[in-house]
Symmetry: C2
């Protein structure tokens, strides 16, 4: 490993001069600079981040909190899509993105300890167990943090406009003549699931339609199987199928459609179904799915922008929802 001392020796100057030259300080003459830069290149010099950061602190690195304790992995297109955009944005600014861990070698650390240990500049919370005892310590530490699609107290949050999306979905179904619209909600430990359920109730109310609790079922998870089970439950509860179903996610909607098909019902002829997410494949299913599209690109980008602003102290920590990202209704074949 070649160091600034090696360069200094060959250049016949002090290491401090080399450091200044490499940092383009105006305390060193143009001639010297060029000479030192050339030498550094020739000798294959690469700075040592540890030595540098020991002095300068700010690490140019951002931690991603992606807890696997929940059943949501990186495979989940929604989160991985957001992460992708977030990563692109911050990397272009010169930040490294790294996963927040709980261990270093044999030693266990809390999230906060790990972040301090690594001198992390900021954290994006993607998924996390809200009851994790170590979470609060982190969110109250003063380290810049943002989160997406989450109901974390005191953390700036970027989230889709679940109310607007729900309203658009329901009003579209109403426009097409549906009177009794069921809702398969997401698991209600999820913040977005709660918002969509609330949006469902609000919209019905707005249209002077009473909420029929029998028309609401909760899916156990955001996946196909839960969608299937929820649909069976829905039918049992109502002794038949409603005219239309608004599901809290595409996976749930697709699961419900499969179940409907197995029971001999036709979508959309017997029942219309709307999902939420607009995952890519919903264009290709049969029938293709009418759904509320979440803007992963914008969510990821806005999260990045906000976090960077916090890091640069261009904004202060405003707990709660700092940005509602608009959604879009994509009309396809699963609604008539």
């Amino acid at each position: 490993m070649v160091t600034i001392y090696d360069i200094a020796k060959r250049a016949g100057c002090a290491s401090s001069t080399v450091s200044k030259a490499l940092n383009n300080s105006n305390q060193v003459s143009k001639k010297r600079k060029e000479e030192i830069l050339a030498l550094a290149k020739e000798m294959g010099y690469v700075p040592n981040s540890n030595a540098r950061l020991l002095k300068t602190k700010n690490s140019w690195s951002i931690g991603i909190l992606f807890s696997e304790d929940l059943n949501i992995g990186l495979e989940h297109h929604f989160f991985s899509g957001i992460l992708q955009e977030f990563k692109s944005y911050v990397e272009a600014l010169g930040y490294e993105v790294t996963f927040v861990s709980k261990k270093v070698g044999a030693q266990s650390l809390t999230y906060l300890e790990w972040c301090k240990y690594k001198n992390i500049d900021g954290v994006l919370i993607l998924t996390v167990d809200e009851d994790d005892v170590n979470l609060k310590e982190l969110t109250e530490s003063g380290i810049p943090i943002v989160t997406v699609d989450n109901g974390l107290i005191n953390v700036p949050t970027i989230i889709s406009d679940n109310f607007q999306g729900t309203r658009m979905a329901l009003e579209y179904l109403m426009l097409k003549g549906a009177k009794h619209i069921a809702h398969i909600s997401g698991p209600l430990r999820s913040f977005s699931a709660k918002e969509r359920l609330q949006g469902y109730k609000d919209t019905l109310e707005k249209h002077a339609i009473g909420v029929d609790e029998k028309l609401i079922v909760e899916a156990y998870n955001y996946d196909y199987k839960s969608g299937k089970n929820a649909l069976l439950q829905l039918i049992k509860q109502n002794k038949g199928i409603p005219e239309a179903i608004y599901a809290a996610s595409d996976d749930i909607a697709l699961g419900a459609i499969i179940a409907l098909r197995e029971l001999g019902f036709k979508v959309p002829n017997d029942v219309s179904v709307i999902g939420f997410d607009n995952i890519e494949l919903t264009r290709y299913t049969s029938p293709s799915l009418t759904t509320v599209s979440q803007n992963k690109v914008m969510i990821g980008t806005e999260a990045a922008k906000h976090l960077i602003a916090l890091i640069n102290k261009e904004t202060h920590i405003a707990p709660g929802i700092v940005k509602r990202v608009p959604v879009e209704l994509i009309i396809r074949e699963s609604t008539k």
Copy 2:
């Protein structure tokens, strides 16, 4: 930030003693150790990774090379699934996982420079542009590296058994009576696509069936649209449809099925289709897809194991394929 000096002051001893106590050295008495540990906890001491690594080198961190130059993002279930497993495995051992970048602040670096700068212990190459000029420099640097599903020269590779998978798919179709089996290959710049194409030719040969070039088309990408286009091309080339199609990925297969349906053909009655990957939703499509399942869990885990072994020098760098991960044929409704 509390340092070992702060602790030393309160404990009435030297900083070196504190360091030894924290590292459980046997050069310090049990009584002192306990006293210092207690103080450290009370004072909220967290070590400084930069100071530590400056002396000790090994960083306990592993870089992920995930180039976005290709059209493959983190959303791609295959790669994100592998990453997920890899991450779990190495994090449990105390490694941090971080994305290899090309910038630090305003400064641009090559992959290798970045890894040296960060003192990275090892690298997993997930996706990368094989023609990137900076890639060779990295792979020849001597830093422990593994890659998956790739044809990188001189890099230990973990990959699915594409030959076995292809043979199983084709022999199943033959068993069901298909004589003329077409192949929609993946983009041939992809290593796996090449292997699957070769497997196709080998298997036909083994069964004394001549290879009909008209029955082979290359999809432009691993996605639905390319599958659709490839199918149209296939029909044009053959002035009709073959009895069966073996597609190099599920996305391609689904695209082909959509195209077939739009043209009025029934799957599997008019034509059988087999995919490759076993992405989760293929169980739920209509018809559900017969496919060759790739074992993402095993690929991710094996890649992790191999990289750790390289880091610990328990094995030496063996360029080329170090592990063929078995695949499995999942029979569903898209074949008759």
